[in-house]
């Protein structure tokens, strides 16, 4: 090959396969899971608060309560992230469906 000449590799798009109905169903389940996690976060916070109140010493109970608070917030954040991911999945499914619909009309 002459100097200064580069071989250019063709850009290959990965193959895309979509089952839009499965995406919609999955999105619903993932979003619902996020809601479950948010609920679990509240339950965890309440459960640890119950434990904190029953420890029998304000200072130690406070430490336990703080732990429950931080875990509850983390779990709630994870729930939101899961729900958001599910929403994104649903949006992707909608986009695929709209694309398919527009191609079919053509």
């Amino acid at each position: 090959m002459p100097v200064g000449v580069r071989r250019v590799q063709p850009i290959r798009m990965p193959r895309i396969e979509v089952d839009v109905q499965a995406l919609a169903a999955g999105a619903a389940r993932q979003t619902a899971s996020g809601g479950e996690l948010t609920g679990a976060a509240g339950e965890l916070h309440a459960a640890v608060a119950q434990a904190a109140a029953a420890v029998g010493a304000a200072h130690a109970g406070g430490a336990v309560g703080d732990w429950g608070g931080s875990w509850g917030r983390s779990l709630a954040a994870l729930g939101q992230a899961t729900a958001q991911t599910g929403a994104n999945l649903g949006t992707a499914g909608d986009a695929y469906r709209r694309t398919d619909d527009s191609q079919m009309r053509r």
């Binding site: 089952d19 479950e36 996690l37 965890l44 119950q50 434990a51 029998g56 899961t82 991911t85």
Partner: protein, 557 residues
Amino acid sequence: MSAGDVYGGIEVPEGDPDELEAAAGRVRATAGTLERVAGTLTGVLGGLGWAGPASVAHTDLTGSHVSMLGLATQALDGKAAVISDYAGVLRTAQRQSERAIADARDADRRIREAEGEIRDAEAAQRSAQGRIDAAQIAKSAADNRLAASVIDVVAGDHAAAAASAAATDEIRAAQGDLDQAQAKERRARIALRQAREDRRAAAQLGERAADDVRLARAGLVAAAQDVGLLPREPGGPASASFASAAGIALPPPPKPKEKEDKPWYEDAVGAVGDAASWTWDQAKQVPGGAWEGTKGLPNGVVFISQLNPMSPDNVVHPGRTFDRYKQLAGAGKFAVEHPGEFGKQVINYEDLANGRYGEWAGNLLPDAVLAVTTAGAGTAASRAARISGDVADAATVVRRVDRPLTEAGESAVTRGDDVVRHWTPLDDNRPLAEDRGGNTFRSSTYDEVRTTATRRLYRVHSADGSPLGPFWTHQPPAGPTQSILDNALVPQWGNDATHVTVVDVPPGTTLYEGQAGPQPLPGLDPADAGRYAADLQGGGPQVFIKGHIPKEWIVHP
């Protein structure tokens, strides 16, 4: 009786074990929810029938959520086990405290009764003695009259003889009453002593229960705060939030020093200060978190991984997690209370100070990691294998978290001395043979103590007794009777505890400390033999010095 009740210095620890168990159940249920959601998300990924760049991104993100849920599930199960274990400790301690209060009430009632009986018996003795004195005077007068008047015997009404005989009968009767009153007093005093011993035992039971709860609460706080509770620099401020939450009193702040360019530990190690700094820089990363960062290090990583709730052992045996948190809490307590010593442990100051540079360098990072994670206990343990017998100070103090000490051993720790080892009859190679001091301690159990400063000891003996024997006490004697009772000095031994020798024991001396054990007491009165014979209970703190005691230690006489 309920939580918070107090009697005579014994308190039923506050807290509600049932509520804690219920809360632990809710935490476990939450863990179950997370596990189920993780399964749902995994199912979502498997059923999408989706391929492409966006699919990869979604799978990565959702997969990370599934991983986090898996870790959280196991962590919550571990925390639930900790809460449940704490509930168990609290429940047991509350029952013990309630029993201790009941025992204390009963003992106090018996003490009052015995004291009343002693007062009655003493009054009866005074009355009988008065009757004896009066009868003896009457008899003396009658006898004098009898001697002076032969007529009374020969031809009189025998009044003087009758008076003398009556006085003799009265003396005999009063003497009988006196003997009875004395016997009653002796029985009452034995009952009083037993009741006081039971009262002391009740107080100890209450104190042990309180200690168990204190340690368990510290473990609970450690579980909540994890290893972030330890100080972040040698000699630096301990974790005030941990100390506060665990109910540990922080030492008073040090006096402000003149500004120095170098931290104290660099001065201590001189030319190798940079390396010490480096060691600390490495070690202080550990509490921050990454378990993985300590892979490949011996021993220390074992402890760290044991604390990790994801450890397979903790998953299989979640109950052990609480014990490890309690150990960590003990380490944290030591770090709070002895920040300077903690710092020395971290940089392996002992090796440096003794010129053991090879050992120091060869074990630098493992020691530092161990010190940070166990606040000295781990370093001391590993170093003990390299340095004969010179077990470092921190470990001995921390050890009491794992193993109970005698009351005397606890006092030694409070005093600032080092408890080298707690010895029980189950141990091999005990330093005191049973017939050479060992069996003079209650349950043949004692603590081996090394003094860290000059300690004043007292020994009671009789006028012709030995002023320098093996048995001593830290407390000055309050009187012969108290010494005889506390130290179970059987009268037949001939030690009437009327003389005292005082010595000052230098730092570094080995003492064996524990509670004086009971000694069989022969019958107090021939008439009562076998009926009222009892043990002298002892129970006072006893110090045993093995070997020669130099006369230079004597302060008095």
